[in-house]
Symmetry: C2
Subunit: 208 residues, 2 copies
DNA sequence: TGTACATCAGTGAACGCGCGTTCACTGATGTAC
DNA sequence: TGTACATCAGTGAACGCGCGTTCACTGATGTAC
């Protein structure tokens, strides 16, 4: 038996989501540190004061956006790393999955790439923590691979971070490619594959 | 015989530099997209209207900062890549050079990391272009290395981009480490070395 | 070298505007009996 | 089921403030003769 929310709670959540959506849209063309409270409420269509019923500040809203954005990234990372098949096939699939995620959630990707090094400390910290959790997940996934035999914990962590950073950087390249001539997408795909291939080679001969 | 600037020109350049310095300092705690014109002039100690004698807008000032910041990065990149010695020694030296650059120009590093994916388009473009030039330089440097025998142009480009991104990411990790417990620096050093080592291994066996 | 005029970096007053935050409010939803 | 009261998401007026930009200005520096 599922817990049904009261009408009031449901409406509140709906408004909250409207704030998150509106903010994310506005953030395609600016940084969080310049996002105005009134700007967001205007986009949602409520009074400025309604904002305070949901968030203390735009920084607070930003932290909520981090959870939403990296939540959607979670399944992608898992699928990417655990993709089956031989090395070349896995690389192809991984890059494809990244491209598809960027197509599906461009604003989320942009937000994370932008605010990871952005001007709002609590948001930077939230992203750092979430990415660290990601890296841990990736590390666990890597440890299961027979190729990881003989690897120590720190080496696995290093590789996991390398993959996570590489994914994010590739995602942001795909994002830029969205507003570029059509062949840019293929250039990014080729580059990303090549880089993953080099990491694969390094991985294979790490213990030589 | 060197061309000496008139008093007027010299004073103007001095004020312009004061604008750049003040802006860079203010940008340690916010993004360019929220930097105010009056905020900068207040920090410099001139009237708000003086700003327009030097820049059209804060975005324009941002582009000027890109040139300054990546200008200072230039020598570092060259030295890092061309560092002599065997592989392990080169890696140690490279990571050390990055750490030293971050100590010397923390605000420059922060600015580039922040605005690379930031909310101001012309600045993003300026950074992208400058980093592309960097990658070209690194590529030329790599091509001179005997290890590059048999590598095609695209593979060299891929490796160059990988190094440039890796350098920037490492630099921004060192930056964060500045306001963390002392041993964080060593953790970053160890991680960066390990990652460069993996890239080295991949590079060595690329043509296997 | 001295004089008369041109240039132009920096000034200071003024403008209209949107900002974040406060406060007492309204009226639909929730709850106790 | 009906009634009386409590809760609380969203309102709307008001505030003081700093913003970007305009404009005519000043006075030191530069230039022509």
């Amino acid at each position: 038996m599922s817990h049904t929310l009261g009408v009031r709670q449901a409406q509140k959540q709906k408004t909250r989501q409207a704030f998150l959506d509106a903010a994310l849209a506005l953030l395609e063309e600016q940084s969080l540190s310049s996002l105005g409270l009134r700007e967001v409420t205007r986009a949602v269509g409520v009074a400025p004061t309604a904002f305070y019923r949901h968030f203390r500040s735009t920084a607070d809203l930003g932290v909520a956006l981090v959870d939403e954005a990296l939540g959607s990234l979670h399944p992608m990372v898992r699928t990417t790393v655990s993709a089956a098949g031989d090395s070349e096939e896995r690389i192809k699939r991984a890059v494809e999955l990244i491209a598809r995620h960027v197509d599906g959630y461009p604003a989320h990707v942009r937000f994370i790439a932008r605010e990871r090094h952005g001007g709002v400390q609590p948001v930077r910290e939230a992203i750092r923590d979430q990415l660290a959790r990601f890296a841990e997940e990736v590390k666990a996934e890597l440890a299961d691979d027979p190729q990881a035999h003989g690897w120590n914990d720190e080496d696995l962590g290093m590789l996991a971070h390398l993959y996570v950073d590489q994914m994010l950087l590739t995602a942001s390249l795909f994002l830029e490619a969205q507003e570029a001539p059509a062949d840019e997408r293929e250039r990014v795909t080729a580059l990303a594959r090549r880089q993953l291939r080099l990491i694969s080679v390094g991985r294979r001969h790490w213990l030589d």
